[in-house]
């Protein structure tokens, strides 16, 4: 842990101070017309009684992780594919 312990107090203070400052700026978003509009319209997601009542209980624990794997994995694979194509195009252009 020597890399983590190196100047950790001052560095943690800087990271936290900047994060709190940015967070305060982000909180000020609630003063915008955009926020007022959303508050006026109202917002809800999912159903009141919980989603997928007919789903087996084990699946209800697993499905959120499957959703995360898809939401992270698909853009990951698409990005890797895009980078490969771009690399291939650059090489083809040079040749």
């Amino acid at each position: 842990m020597k890399y983590l312990q190196y100047h950790w107090k001052s560095r943690t203070f800087v990271v936290l101070a900047i994060s709190i400052l940015v967070s305060i700026l982000l909180i000020s978003l609630e003063l915008t017309d955009w926020a007022a509009q959303i508050n006026q319209q109202g917002y809800s997601h999912g159903s009141e009684g919980g989603e997928g009542k007919g789903i087996p209980s084990a699946l209800r624990y697993i499905l959120p992780f499957v959703k995360e794997l898809v939401l992270i994995g698909v853009p990951l694979l698409l990005s890797l594919l895009l980078m490969k194509v771009l690399r291939w195009l650059r090489r083809a252009k040079k040749a």
Partner: protein, 156 residues
Amino acid sequence: MSDWMQNLQKTRYVMDTLLLVSFMIVSAPQSTGVPGHEWLSLLFIVPFAVHLLLHWDWIKQSAKRFSKKITAKERFSLVWNYLLYLMMLLATVSGFLVSVALLPTLNIELHIQDFWSKIHHDSATLIMPMIGVHLALHWSWIVNLTKRMRVKRAKA
């Protein structure tokens, strides 16, 4: 002492794996329950801060690097990392502002605004594909380190 603690790249690898796993647990309130989700989110600040501390040099040099002649991929990665940081802060802050378990337990009562509910839901969903792209940008490093960690484990 474990070998990975003596090597910066390996320390980053182990801590980043921990960060990803904890992120996935924190991002599944349907599995952990809302109170679990909120308390775990508070704990999640630790691996997130560790991630930033272990990339301190990158953070320090990032502003200088942006003005230098760097590849398009590096420039994109730089901007993406900062956007991801902002999105992570937005999801965390909005999460605290819609808290129904953590803050009431600490005797802090907030009027929950629909605006923050929407922002929390949208930012938390958007973070996942952003992390996918972030991982893709560092894919060669992930593959290399996975190989190095495996070799060490095989020797031991």
